[in-house]
């Protein structure tokens, strides 16, 4: 089991979510986060271009069984990218998942995902 954590641009959330649903990955957790990478975001404030210090991003947490890791990652990469790719398109972290428990049934491991 792996935990896939993806940090993506907020304006690509719908694209990614739709692509994941197409790929049959429907169990996801989404949160809005801010942070800092290499990107300098540009917004308009009273006619001036400004770069905020902390840039808003969306974080997806997806727990998957091992055979679904590749499809999930590929789907996110394809859907989150702006055109051929820009600084700020985000990152994906994959960590090993020790245990997964479904609260309702107390199931453990792979079937609980």
């Amino acid at each position: 089991m792996k935990l896939i954590t993806a940090i993506i641009p907020p304006d690509r959330l719908d694209h990614v979510r739709e692509a994941l649903i197409q790929a049959d990955i429907t169990r996801i957790t989404v949160s809005r986060v801010t942070g800092h990478g290499r990107q300098e975001d540009i917004e308009f404030y009273r006619g001036q271009k400004i770069a905020p210090n902390l840039i808003p991003k969306v974080r997806l947490d997806i727990a998957v069984n091992d055979q679904f890791v590749d499809i999930t990652v590929d789907t996110i990469i394809n859907a989150a990218k702006h055109g051929v790719g820009e600084i700020g398109d985000g990152k994906i972290f994959i960590t090993s998942l020790e245990q997964c428990i479904r609260i309702r049934t107390n199931e453990r491991g792979g079937p609980a995902i």
Binding site: P10, D11, R12, L13, D14, H15, E18, V30, S31, R32, T34, I42, E43, F44, P56, V58
Partner: protein, 443 residues
């Protein structure tokens, strides 16, 4: 030579004096009470526009909140410029083109009314500005039907054209002294504060636009939940408050007619909200805040054409009928599958039609007696119903046909339907380079 100059000077003086006395004879003085109330009403109607922005803004998804509120503010800006330039002249100038619109060159930039006091004893400036607020809110209402999927530039062009080619003609027919609907039947088609001019015209245009532009991506499969119902309720409250200016100001007076309009406005809004709440409680077991807000609006829309002619019991009935019919219309929308995003047609179109037609059955007897006296015989409810139905039918047909042409032109030139990529990113980011909410959960 000297004599000639002296005599011509005398002549000029004489002409000026004659002009002055002629003017003095028909001079109307300003009534401070009426003027104060009309100034207040003007401000109240403008307050409805940010109210509408909040109402609509709260109903869309987080990524579209700025884009949606900018539709209301965009109308405030564009029509705010257009109305004194063209709108007032087109709406309230004397009929041209066989009564299709009005036109008065003197009204361009309101130049000709600098000293004008109207027979209602208010400066014409106040009337022009009061009417201008109606011209602003009407296109802003349409935006609810195609929320979350239009290009901002295309939207601005569309409302500018719509105001000139749809709003001004209908406004002229219904409210100008020489408009044909104003003079239809015994005492004209009854549209006290804009049932046809504002609500039916915008609601029908909304329906046509929703059908023309197609549904939002993902509709109706994906849930599109409101970003902020707190803001929607605040907006509905502001609309209710502003509506006192909208209706009670439309008497262009500060007297018994004003008091009647204000009373029935309050009663219809409460009755609409109450009915919607009860219907929801019976239907789903829960009364939603959006239901209460929708009921308030349905009641207010229905009483708008009727506020001058129905007594309080009629207002109570109109509010209740409108709430039930609008509720059913919105249920039907889901069945029929067209995407009127925020129910501009379901509430304003349907509510306006219900108000303009059903008011006939609740008109106070004194009005009917006056109408009968005017035609010198009898004037029945059904004759008035015919007049109302004509006004409604003409408004629907004209607004639908011309709007379709305008939508087609704007779509083919500037582009109105947003690109799929921009739609998924959200209007805030793609159209305005901003975001409405900070660190709240995404939708």
């Amino acid at each position: 030579m000297q004599k000639k100059i002296t005599s011509s000077l005398l002549l000029i003086l004489a002409v000026m004096m004659a002009y002055n006395t002629g003017w003095a004879a028909e001079e109307v003085v300003t009534d401070t009470g009426t003027t104060s109330w009309m100034l207040t009403s003007t401000a109240l109607v403008l307050l409805m526009v940010p109210g509408l922005a909040m109402f609509y803004g709260g109903l869309v998804r987080t990524k579209n909140v700025i884009g949606t509120m900018m539709h209301s503010f965009g109308a405030m800006v564009v029509i705010g410029v257009l109305w004194p330039m063209l709108g007032y002249a087109l709406s309230f100038g004397p009929s041209i083109l066989g009564g299709l619109v009005g036109w008065e060159p003197k009204y361009f930039m309101l130049q000709g009314i600098d000293d004008a006091i109207m027979s209602t004893q208010i400066p014409e400036y106040v009337f022009a500005m009061f009417q201008g607020k109606f011209a602003i809110i009407t296109p802003a209402l349409i935006a609810g039907a195609f929320a979350e999927r239009v290009n901002f530039k295309g939207y601005l062009a569309f409302i500018a054209l719509w105001s000139i080619f749809v709003y001004s003609p209908i406004c002229h027919w219904v409210w100008a002294a020489d408009g044909f609907l104003f003079n239809l039947g015994a005492m004209g088609a009854i549209d006290f504060a804009g049932g046809t001019v504002v609500h039916i015209s915008s609601g029908i245009t909304g329906l046509v636009a929703a059908l023309f532009l197609g549904a939002r991506k993902g509709y109706p499969r994906n849930a599109m939940s409101p970003s902020n119902l707190v803001m929607t309720l605040t907006g509905a409250g502001l609309l209710w408050v502003g509506w006192f200016g909208f209706n009670a100001g439309s008497a262009i007076a500060s007297n018994l007619a004003t008091a009647r309009a204000l009373t029935v406005t309050q009663m219809a809004a409460a009755s609409g909200a109450f009915t919607w709440m009860v219907v929801e409680l019976l239907h789903h077991g829960k009364a939603t805040s959006l239901g209460v807000a929708s009921g308030i609006l349905a009641g207010l829309v229905a009483i708008t054409p009727a506020a001058g002619v129905v007594p309080p019991a009629g207002a109570f009935a109109l509010g209740a009928i409108a709430a039930v019919i609008c509720y059913v219309a919105i249920l039907l929308k889901s069945k029929l599958g067209y995407d009127d995003s925020l129910d501009a047609f379901g509430v304003h179109g349907i509510g306006g039609i219900v108000g303009a037609l059903f008011l006939t059955f609740f008109i106070r007897p004194s009005w009917m007696a006056d109408a009968a006296a005017k035609v010198g015989g009898t004037w029945t409810v059904w004759q008035q119903f015919g007049v109302q139905a004509t006004a409604v039918g003409v408004t629907i047909a004209y607004a639908a046909a011309v709007s379709l042409v305008l939508l087609f032109i704007v779509e083919k030139t500037i582009g109105l339907r947003i690109k799929e990529n921009d739609e998924m990113s959200g209007l805030d980011h793609s159209m305005h380079g901003e975001q409405g909410y900070g660190l709240i959960n995404p939708n």
